[in-house]
């Protein structure tokens, strides 16, 4: 392969010739000799140096030690040196020039849950004092996902009509396992052990009439977790206009992941079926199921929830099973989630709106920005009041959600 150089070789050659010309002009051989190192360097570089290949960056999987993540970085190249640029945790950039096969250790502390890149590295190979470099830069990044924490919830609100056949919630259809429903004349299909003899003695009109004690059936319910990941906004309002994960404090997606995981854990423990829907372009869906294996699947999907572009105008409403309780996790800063809530309420589902906006800190905002923030929050408040009036329940996750859930459970269906 033909080696390509920077302008350094041409400059060295030109300076050597210029010094030679100067020495010739003044008949000074020692001035001509000043050009000797430049000419020797140019010849050495042209003859011996070859253009290095694109360097290969190897980053080990991060290890969690003492509350931080340690990654080992190594660059392989056929060059004399490698210029390495490492971006740590989306925020801090460090630049080093190292010899090939030298190892570096990168330490990062995760400030948020969800997917992140502890190390994102670029490298360019350099040879001959920088006179030739690799034509393309190498790139590599290590990926990791931080699982969100879980808050314990005592109970979850139930749907207005339960349609499941087996579960832990009091149903409305006659069956077995639940509380007393009524005394009913015996019909074909009723079990003889259900006959209430005292009631039969009291109520029977003709010989052979039997009265049976009927119970409510126990039902499972279907829970749909709908996560609006279009916004990922931090506590510090001044960071909303830039992609700066550090210094933003707890973000709305951190709260959404924590809420989704807490709700999924409580629902699966109760024996309910849970589905997960992610709003936005490319949003994924985890189908409705129950059991611990499904909980692990949900936990993995919740851990990788990430911000997405809005797909408001052409995406269809996520399908939820009949009679579901829909937990809608959103900041409600635009109409997407509120319109979906209106549609589900109209279809007869119970909707619980989980407000995932953290407590805001307006530090470093000027007067115009504070005014703008007040307008945005006022519109958001109107949206939330509108869906509450349509029948949705509201839980603010940044406050104590356990108490709010207990109050919802006690509210009559």
């Amino acid at each position: 392969m033909t080696t390509r150089f920077t302008s350094a070789v041409a400059i060295a050659t030109t300076c050597a010739v210029a010094l030679a010309a100067l020495g010739l002009l003044f008949s000074r051989g020692d001035v001509v000799a000043l050009g000797a190192p430049l000419a020797l360097w140019a010849v050495w570089t042209t003859v011996t140096a070859k253009q290095p290949e694109t360097p290969e960056i190897l980053i080990d999987a991060p290890l969690h030690e003492d509350g931080r993540y340690r990654s080992s970085i190594e660059v392989r190249s056929d060059a004399e040196a490698v210029h390495l640029v490492a971006l740590l945790g989306h925020s801090l950039e460090r630049q080093l020039v190292v010899a090939p096969d030298e190892r570096l250790e990168a330490f990062s502390i995760a400030q948020h849950s969800g997917p992140w890149f502890p190390v994102w590295a670029h490298a360019r190979a350099i040879s001959a004092d920088g006179a030739t470099t690799s034509a393309r830069d190498g790139e590599a990044r290590s990926r990791h996902a931080i699982a969100p924490s879980t808050r314990h919830l005592d109970a979850l609100p139930t749907a207005r009509t339960l349609s499941g056949l087996h579960g832990s919630h009091q149903g409305w259809r006659p069956g077995q396992g639940g509380d007393f429903r009524d005394i009913h004349p015996w019909a074909p299909g009723d079990e003889l052990r259900r006959v209430d003899w005292k009631a039969t003695a009291r109520l029977a009109r003709r010989r052979g009439d039997l009265q049976v004690r009927r119970m409510h059936t126990m039902s499972e319910q279907a829970i749909a977790l709908v996560v609006d990941g279009i916004d990922d906004l931090g506590e510090v309002v001044a960071t909303w206009d830039r992609d700066a994960p550090q210094g933003s404090g707890v973000t709305s997606l951190d709260l959404a992941r924590e809420a989704a995981r807490s709700l999924a854990t409580m629902a699966i423990e109760t024996g309910d079926r849970v589905s997960l829907h992610e709003l936005g372009v490319g949003g994924r869906m985890t189908r409705s199921a129950a059991g611990n294996r499904h909980l692990a699947r949900l936990a993995a999907a919740i851990t990788t929830l990430a911000p997405r572009e809005s797909a408001r105008h052409w995406a269809r409403t996520p399908p939820v099973p009949r009679g579901s309780v829909v937990f809608l996790l959103s900041t409600f800063l635009d109409d997407t989630a509120a319109d979906l809530a209106t549609g589900w309420l109209g279809a007869g589902h119970r909707v619980v709106a989980i407000d995932t906006l953290p407590h805001l800190d307006p530090v470093r905002l000027n007067r115009a920005e504070r005014t703008g923030l007040r307008l945005v929050l006022a519109e958001r408040r109107e949206r939330i009041v509108r869906i509450e009036r349509q029948g949705a329940d509201l839980v603010v996750w940044a406050d104590d959600p356990g108490i709010a859930m207990r109050l919802l459970v006690r509210r009559p269906r």
Partner: protein, 193 residues
């Protein structure tokens, strides 16, 4: 109130032992200044010594190469001397190597000693040859002024220049001589981790 995060505490890189590239840039300002102070008369070197300092600050202007002219003038206006030519050859070579290296790497980076080893070895070998050439040229110049010596040396350098220029032209488009500036496009975070 939320305090801003201290990223230097949150994230850290531990690399091999080395020096900041800023030290190389400092050498790029110091070496030609010292050479000018040694080679030029005391009342004139200060005026010309500002050029290397500006050249080190504005690296890609290649103003540091003006120091070569200053050094050559210093050798010209004084009598041939072995130690003068030694200092001048060292300074000319060092300026070129430092400019080439510092143009390829950013000033706020650090460079490990192992990465500097090939540069150091090459510098020493070329210096050994160039110092010998300079010593011989200076000795011959002192013994008897020989215009033919200058002519032969100049023609040799021109021949080398022609060969190098032709070969560089044949290689085609040059590579970048500015530090790498990576772009961090939004990663596809939907990839499974």
């Amino acid at each position: 109130m939320i305090l801003p995060s201290r990223t230097a505490v949150l994230h850290r890189v531990m690399g091999p032992r080395g020096i900041p590239v800023a030290v190389l840039r400092l050498l790029l300002a110091v070496i030609p200044t010292v050479a000018a102070a040694v080679l030029l008369p005391t009342d004139s070197w200060m005026a010309l010594a500002i050029l290397p300092v500006i050249g080190a600050a504005f690296l890609h202007s290649r103003l540091s190469y003006a120091a070569l002219a200053v050094i050559a003038i210093g050798v010209l206006i004084s009598d041939p001397s072995a130690w003068r030519i030694a200092v001048a050859v060292l300074a000319v070579h060092a300026v070129h190597v430092l400019v080439t290296l510092c143009c390829a790497i950013p000033g706020h980076a650090s460079i490990s000693w192992r990465a500097l080893r090939p540069t150091g070895i090459r510098f020493i070998v070329i210096q050994a040859i160039a110092q010998l050439v300079g010593l011989v040229a200076s000795s011959l110049q002192r013994a008897e002024p020989r215009p033919a010596l200058a002519l032969v040396g100049a023609l040799a350098l021109v021949a080398v220049a022609v060969v190098l220029t032709v070969s560089n032209t044949a290689a085609g488009k040059k590579v970048r001589d500015t530090p790498m500036t990576p772009s961090y496009k939004n990663p596809d975070v939907t990839d499974r981790v």
